[in-house]
């Protein structure tokens, strides 16, 4: 529900998204020293592969977004990681597009950064309890909700005609949000127990 294809948005929205993403990617890249490069690339690859994982949710089948998880583990470096994964998805599978790359990256990476910030606010460092899982769940679900809002916003900015259709975006986002909340809580809960330094090491 988050990959907007080419041809939908108007030029000003494309340019705005491109500018935000260029700045975000540049800032994120500055955080990736040679030591962190493999870690960021692994997360970027996970984000890419997640789009191929379909999960049943009620009547429909949804695919994971994973931007909350990216923000929680990577912080600012999530931006370039999402950018790279989206470029590959567009080229290899035709998910999303080329001119909208900036907008799509912003729609997913800005919520990722917010989710990372929220997670670090809610969780105490060194904690492995239920509280960590709860913080991760809210980060995961919140990131999906924020992405849906931004997708709806990009469409609304591109034309008044899209306004009534925005309920479609909300309807497709709701199941993803529920699944992603539970999913992120479980994934980060496991990481906190097995590799706690991964979650505590971030600024």
């Amino acid at each position: 529900m988050a990959h907007i294809p080419d041809g939908v948005l108007t030029m000003p929205v494309l340019l705005g998204g491109g500018a935000v993403s260029a700045a975000g990617t540049w800032m994120g890249l500055r955080q990736i020293g040679p030591e962190r490069m493999p870690q960021v690339a692994v997360l970027s690859a996970v984000f890419f592969v997640a789009s191929l994982v379909h999960l049943p949710a009620g009547l429909a089948s949804v695919h994971l977004l994973l931007n909350g998880l990216m923000g929680v583990v990577l912080g600012m470096a999530a931006y370039p990681a999402i950018m790279v994964a989206l470029l590959l998805q567009a080229v290899l599978f035709g998910f999303g597009g080329l001119a909208v790359l900036g907008v799509n990256a912003a729609n997913m990476a800005v919520p990722a950064l917010l989710a990372g910030w929220l997670f670090r606010r809610l969780r105490r460092p060194g904690d492995f309890s239920r509280r960590t899982a709860l913080a991760a769940g809210s980060a995961g679900g919140g990131a999906v909700a924020a992405t849906a809002l931004l997708v709806a916003g990009s469409l609304a900015l591109s034309g008044q005609d899209f306004l009534p259709a925005l309920t479609v975006v909300a309807a497709t986002a709701a199941p993803v949000m529920v699944v992603e909340t539970v999913f992120t809580a479980a994934a980060i809960g496991l990481l906190a127990r097995v590799r706690p330094e991964l979650l505590d090491g971030q600024p």
Binding site: P5, P38, A41, V49, D161, A165
Partner: protein, 251 residues
Amino acid sequence: MSILTLPPAAAGSLIARLNPCTRVVAAFAFALAAAAGGGLAAPVAGLALALLLAGLARLAPGRVLRRLLALEGFMAMLLLVLPFTVSGTPLFTVAGLTASAEGVRQALSIALKANAVAVAALALLGTMDMVTLGRALARLGLPDRFVTLFLFTVRYIDVLHEQYGRLRLAMRARAFRPSAGLHTWRSIGWLVGMLLVGSLERSERIHAAMRLRGFTGRFPRLDGQPAGALDWGFGAAHAAWLGAMVLLGLP
């Protein structure tokens, strides 16, 4: 079988003989030009060019067709809703809802543009080795770190996808059947958590091995061929068509 090795452009085809940088620039220029135009004439011209490019890359028709139908579900729904939400001259009525001619035109225009860009991207970039694409991005001036991240990611996607398949098989062997419910969603969470733990450890070992061999955090730039007469010729024709497309789309 790797998910990254798409069938390449037929050897000797025009697209395969172009410089990778030319292909990258042509693909992004195409996407931007398509975004600029409205109406129906410009998207039709765009789709014609995209199909011509697919022909020049000698793509299998089945592959092009699959990409045409790959629009995500929510976009398809959005396009279906559009005729009924745009006001204008009534065209037909379904279950009490009236579709307007303007709405149908607009939905058609968007669908044509989206598909044209998707096919052009497939013909120009999807037929390229991803490592070649990474090098082309470097030559086009993207930051070293971005390109390094891109190349590492390309490397890890296969590893991860393979590992993901192994873990899913292990779950199936233990009678896991995905269904809508907490149990499934949590199990998949743990699956991806395990995937991360395993891959991160592996990536650290790979990185240590690379450092041992003198890797300093960036790959050396391999200078490819400079743009030749073919690239300039193709670029000029491509640009002319795109220019005509933008003019057609002007209101």
